[in-house]
Symmetry: C2
Subunit: 355 residues, 2 copies
């Protein structure tokens, strides 16, 4: 594959990114945050590509969000400085790497429990101070302290821990839960203010709630990843149209065993098994009444029983994935194009970085 | 990470392979096929590592099975010759690569339709002959001709196509469908015999049906991948015990937000979202009453409500994945150990090879 080639000549399956759709997604989201006067911190998990994070910063984003230290190291190597890692850091080997990273970037991490805070404090007490935010579970049911009282208690522990600086609050919210997030944040902020603990950052997040971020007035920044490409789940959430989905997985019909069955060469190794509540595995743009009923690793079985038009063997079809972030993690390269002509091929630099 | 290190010092998540369990799995399966007098062709999709395929061949396997041409190229580069690619090959760029591969290996491919056969014939008519098997759908509902009559018709087309040699029949069966497979194969073989068409290979497959391969007497070879590591789905299928599962994903408890919730640092980027009919995302060996209720990319949310014992923050836990093959595809390296001491670190050479 090379620049200038038609996407129709590429071997399938291939993950394609429409340059213009992506550029518009970056621009529109940043304009929203500029308008409401809030910092925006894109999550790199969706693309894992430094050049794309650079475009997000060039548009006005404040810094980047990573989930794992290995991802942050890739982006630090690429020259990024303002990095928030939204994950509890545990274990000597990881903390040693964190100390190195903290010497060369403006690093922030989160913690939701005293074991993590005490480990960080022990590791950083004799070196450059580390900024730590308290992760709050405002309803999503994943990591996070459960109440404003717990958030205050942990913030206080961080503020008093050698080697650490309390930097603020952070949540990854349940979609459409802005009111609950605001209650959690504002109650915690009141407790902190009463105790005289400064709270520079209040970090809200999520692509599904991106354009409702103004409903959380306590927040000072927003983190989001998926919005740069968008996907079927974002369309369902009402955040965009199918035309705003920059990522298509291009696949080929390799078999038509029966009148109502087609098989594509894109399986779970191209699309993942993430359903995100859907009953099938992505939208066939050109055959919207067909359903990707089952995936194995290299095959997608398509049910054509409700589709009046039926694709032929050898035909290429475009798929909007249920979840774009996990697709990027499966490909060594994403192929960018404008009007079907390849513009660039970007290695997915932080692909597979799980530690 | 390095040889001689304890697995307890490794950063998590990490995919571990127990050397002795794997060696036993290789040996026991090969002994079964030796006993029933059938060729065995391991599918490399489960490990994607040449050194492991070499161990399978050393035990007595006849050749290897790949699913995509890019995988086959990796194994050809590593010196493997007897390769069956069980996928329909379409498109000029792919067929050009197939022609090159056919000059340096004893290559076989499959086809289940005339478009594929005609494309292969056109590509190979002026070069070294390609061996082609007919893929049969014996009930799994994926690729394959639907009836023995269709299988015969396509075999006949291959036998008469310039550049191609009809090499046999192949199926990826539905589990526990040996009787139906035997009917399909024997009826097709009768039609071929009547027409005087030689059928050197009859290839049956699947790890769930591995030890029932003798119930398909028409078959001359069996293909299987998962058996080398085994996984939770293989235990459910009655093919092995949990002690026979060579792959564990080692993860760390990073949060205990509530009394009944733990969060691990192994999400869908380590375990995939493959459920394979399970309601949760893998078995916690040390906490069998706990349930990995939800995955996001980097988090596993564990429901501890039925588990009397509950893990602490910082504790390491071992997970037997639902589906081992897809886990190998997510890691750049698999870490091998004996009694918890690292024996070798193997790059997953054919990881991410989707075309």
């Amino acid at each position: 594959m090379c620049v200038g080639q038609s996407i129709h000549e590429l071997l399938t399956p291939v993950a394609l990114i429409d340059e213009d759709v992506m550029a518009t997604n970056i621009k529109v989201a940043q304009e929203y945050f500029d308008r409401i006067g809030r910092n925006f911190r894109p999550h790199i998990k969706t693309h894992k590509i430094p050049a794309l994070a650079s475009a997000q910063l060039a548009a006005g984003a404040k810094g980047i969000n990573c989930q794992k230290i290995s991802e942050a190291e890739v982006f630090a190597d690429a020259g990024f400085s303002d990095i928030l890692i939204t994950f509890n850091m545990l274990g000597r080997a990881r903390l040693d790497r964190l100390k190195l990273l903290n010497t060369r970037t403006d690093l922030k991490v989160v913690a939701d429990n005293s074991v993590v805070v005490d480990g960080l404090s022990q590791a950083f007490q004799d070196t450059q101070m580390l900024k730590v935010l308290v992760e709050c579970d405002t309803g999503a049911g994943r990591n996070g302290v459960q109440t404003p009282a717990e958030a205050f208690e942990l913030a206080n522990r961080i503020a008093n821990a050698p080697g650490l600086r309390f930097q603020g609050l952070m949540t990854y919210p349940k979609p459409s839960s802005e009111a609950a997030v605001e209650v959690f944040f504002s109650e915690t902020l009141a407790l902190l203010a009463e105790a005289g603990i400064d709270c520079p950052v209040v970090s809200h997040g999520g692509s599904p709630s991106l354009y409702d971020s103004d409903l959380v007035p306590s927040a000072t920044e927003h983190r989001a990843g998926t919005y740069i490409f968008n996907d079927r789940s974002m369309v369902r959430a009402g955040m965009c149209d199918f035309d705003d989905c920059a990522m298509h997985v291009l696949a080929t019909v390799v078999s038509r065993p029966t009148e109502t069955r087609a098989v594509l060469d894109a399986g779970s190794k191209a699309l993942t098994s993430d359903l995100l509540g859907f009953v099938d595995h992505g939208l066939l743009i050109d055959y919207p009444d067909a359903s990707i009923a089952a995936l194995s690793e290299e095959h997608a079985v398509v049910d054509l029983s409700r589709s009046a038009r039926k694709p032929e063997i050898g035909e290429r079809v475009r798929i909007i994935p249920n979840h774009t972030c996990v697709v990027s993690n499966l490909f060594d390269r994403l192929v960018f194009h404008r009007d079907g002509v390849v513009t660039r091929i970007e290695p997915v630099a932080a692909r597979g970085q799980v530690v």
